[in-house]
Symmetry: C2
Subunit: 312 residues, 2 copies
Amino acid sequence: MTAAPHVRLETALSDFAAALEAGLAARLNATPRPGEIARPARLLAAMRHAVLAGGKRLRPFLLTEVARLLNPGLTVDALMPASAAIECLHCYSLVHDDLPAMDDDALRRGRPTVHVAFDEATAILVGDGLLTLAFDLLADPACHADPAVRAALVLDLARAGGLGGMVGGQMLDLAAEGRFGDGARPDEAEIRKLQAMKTGALIRAATVMGARLGGGSDDVLHRFGRFGDVLGLAFQLADDLLDVTATESEMGKAVAKDAAHGKGTLVARLGIDAVRAELDRLVAEATELLSPWGARSATLAAAARFVAERRR
Amino acid sequence: MTAAPHVRLETALSDFAAALEAGLAARLNATPRPGEIARPARLLAAMRHAVLAGGKRLRPFLLTEVARLLNPGLTVDALMPASAAIECLHCYSLVHDDLPAMDDDALRRGRPTVHVAFDEATAILVGDGLLTLAFDLLADPACHADPAVRAALVLDLARAGGLGGMVGGQMLDLAAEGRFGDGARPDEAEIRKLQAMKTGALIRAATVMGARLGGGSDDVLHRFGRFGDVLGLAFQLADDLLDVTATESEMGKAVAKDAAHGKGTLVARLGIDAVRAELDRLVAEATELLSPWGARSATLAAAARFVAERRR
């Protein structure tokens, strides 16, 4: 692999991130929308702090790239409501996970977390507001002309986010730290399950929702479900590696926290070399899943490599 | 007014509450649903604690009664997904509002609040899980055959719940306590606005969603929007009266908290007699809004009186 595709992908990601930030900022302006009574200024400011913080925007990027692979006529703007929705869901989960009662993190993307920059009550409401906004965005006719697609997108996101997905995964993660007085440490199968729920479910939702928005058949939706699963697993394995190898300054947040919290990670269980080998295998599988689209899928293949090899 | 309609309404409410509890319990069993990976047992138990706690179930009752007024062929069971969704949204807001960082309440409906019975992290996740489940229920084909209705229901609920509704209303309520270092006390217009957001928006959503599920025209939806607004205002005024006049044992939660927190209420500003007079006027308006349906709307008219005159 040469350096060039990485460079092009980084450019595509940062161009997309700028467009997404503009879309999110427009949605979080001061003007009440139909059905809203008023928008409290402090809450709006805190929601903007939470979502306009310069993340990689990987999930909405994947959604957008999958949709445009299947239907090249779709624009980034046309896909903005769904992109914004999936990023709101991601950011809500970060804000709540950072709370003192949860992971108690003071730093996120190199900036104070919402409960530090504002206060704990505001941070709880920011998360609730972003979670709710995600479904507002998906159900709105601006998201897609066909209400059947909108309802299906809501269901995709709700199932990824709920007690059998992200919320349940965070619960299992807290349990894995021994938070609830249960001394048992999770085995490899349990670690994989909790990571699939906490991290994998939303990445899968992004690729499935992209395929849905692109008008994909059931077979294509199934293929992009698997593509999302593979990326989610690679994402988590790369995260575990970074927790061991990266510095706090590179990550913009605290590192080596998993080990400090006594969490089992697959790196601790399998070793760095075995995890790197599994990452290579996952990138190969992701690329193979894209083979029906040939060279047109180069950006998504590069995204899979980026996920596996990222440094932050 | 004789006692009899009240007695019949209490029976109808308690029959409905039993059916709703069964529906909620069935939805919160241990079996993962399609798209879910696993359901952590402690989180499920805490979600059940939050929703199976014997509330009045007023919001889903209103949704069901409005839908059945417009389409008598609809059964309580057929309306169960939407009923469960609106109750999940209500219960999520209670769980998060009770948190130490918010209103710090230890007692709810005579039982320990979720963060007391379990722990704070679990309570945050219970709220997140119930909020997410609400949208899952509405977007599922089991809720309504027509995806356009499902998408519209999601939008109704998201707008009632979001930063221009419940989440924003709770933020304004905290600000009204002087929580954010702002010494200003809200005036009557500001109190009415925050109550419309915090309490009124979800009651309005219940009646509008009921009208939508009953197949009502735009005019009928508009009428039930106003009906919900009137009930929401009556609900909050009755709540303010109870905060002054009821005992903790009658309410099953702490009372006189608003005064203790320095919150302005309309009872404090207008006096008990003026508030009772406004409640009478609101019941009359609610009854008048139901007049096109004559005697068939007796249960909803009784519900309006119940809301205004309730003792708990």
